[in-house]
Amino acid sequence: MKMRRILLLGNPNVGKSVIFSRLTGTDVIVSNYPGTTVEYTKGSMKINGKEVEVIDVPGTYSLKPSNKAEEVAVKMLEELGKDAVVVNVVDSTNLERNLYLTLELMKKKFPMVVALNLWDETNKKGIHIDYKKLEKILGVPVVATVAITGEGIKDLVEKLKHASRGKLRFSEDWTWEKIGEIVSEVQRIEHRHPTWKEILETASVKPITGIPIAIIVLLLSFFFVRIIGEGLIDYVFDPLFEAYKPFVIRLDGMIKNEFLKKILMGEVFDGEISFEESLGLLTTGLYVPFAMVLPYVVAFYFVLGILEDTGYLPRLAVLLDNVFHKLGLHGSAIVPTLLGFGCNVPGALSTRILETRRQRFIALTLLSIAIPCIAQSSIIFVLVGRYGVWAIAKVYSILSIVWLSVGYLLNKLMKGSSPELFLEIPPYRFPYIPGLLKKLWIRIRWFLEDAIPYVMLGVLLVNFLYTFNVLSTVSRFFEPLISGWLGLPKESVVGIVMGFLRKDIAMSMLLPINMTEKQAIIASVILAMYFPCMATFVIVFKELCARDLIKMVFIMLLVSFLVGGFLNKIL
């Protein structure tokens, strides 16, 4: 049989992406919640010396899609299924539910192999599956796998050649009866008393015990992000930059061209370089993204990765479902929201787990307007932090109020209703450390690829514009709005405007300016709200149609300058 490609298909959260990275050697993000993969990933592997394409398809419960990620799955199957072998990845601890998709696939006559993944967990749960018997009943090869350790993967590759269309015949209306029959023949479950893990699984979704647990988990997470972030700055990044400083100073002495000097080093104060304020490519351009933002990005995604891989996020989704409903969303929106606190780009991408366009519009707008990414949070901590913890708390309270009220209003004003929560609650799992670190690395790479070019471009632009005196014109143009309406100092205009490109550039431009507490609060609120950043904007542009995008930009500008002006009056 000709095999041109392999499609990995299965229910959400069964480990398709882990199998994918085992087969192809490609790194992909995996977590313990449904909907981590929202877009397909392509890779390739060699079978008998021949290159075969492997596609990791977003998870779906059935071939009748109910959200965008599932739509992607079904479309892929229709378009690429013709000369493909389907590897149906099955969570063997949930054989019964997973077999539904298996049977649907059989109805469509795809040549397939079934991978009973998470095989190791069945033993712990007292589930015994006779997979040889299952193979006989279905008429397709069945392999037991533990993707995370690589067990059974070789076997799976071996069986690909024997992929078959199966021989099961049944009427669609009686699918569940058929599944019941199969399961009673191949599976035996020992009765077990609930383990402490299962008790915790239930306790963390019950409102009475779940809410205190959630508060503790979130406080601990915040605490660890700070500790790890500060640790990285003090022990890794600051020492690195101290070691790098003499090199820059020597280079500064070597360059004779004033213009080049200005672009590379920026403002040199009496032969001293200030990494935070000099604003040159080799000084501030490197220091701000690497030493001020990156450490917290690392810390944030490390902690978030643990929350993701243990399976805690869906529980948070259930607890917060009520709140999200008031905003026209539902609990699943916790995923884009939390990811957005790191960087808005992955946050925006993950809005695909929401079912309707209306939900995605609201989620993207709220994300861009009121969820500060790490760069924005750094601004808040550095700029407003001078005035103490309470001032910082004020900024976050303002953003929360904006988040709630904009969401509430959008939900009231936009046509249509919002679908309800529909989410699988996975069991708790111990994070698989190599996987966790790999995921962290992928996300850091994303950040670097997005951040560094924009920061460099921004620093370059600022220097050019200064040199050619364009900035004073820009300043004068926006001055009435920024100084007049928002009450911010004249010098801050350029920094605020540059925030369009990246927030880190804005930070380094605002740092040297003397601002009162009120001005610092308004400046950081405005920077967090009026525009996400170029990279996020591009994603939003891809996710929404042009009309929605214009609507969104209008909402962002209107709300942020209304709020800014209001703060200027009352603070």
């Binding site: 419960y61 109910s66 949930n94 409102p207 259930v318 607890l319 679908p419 529909f422 609650i425």
Partner: protein, 75 residues
Amino acid sequence: MKIDLLRAPLGRDVIVIDVVGGICLKQRLFALGIVPGKKIKKVVQHPMGGPIIVEINGSRFALGRGMASKVIVEV
């Protein structure tokens, strides 16, 4: 006694009798095995319009109120 899932007792196995909803909801629940004749257990119910959590075929799902109210069970 036939009641909807919202009013079903917590922590007890009940039998699904019917799903009274549109075709979309039926299909969605069908794919999970929430079909007439199946055993289902409500494990958690959140107050104030919050979701409920059910156990079906050994896995747990959070469902919104509206959905839950359309699942009719026999106690």
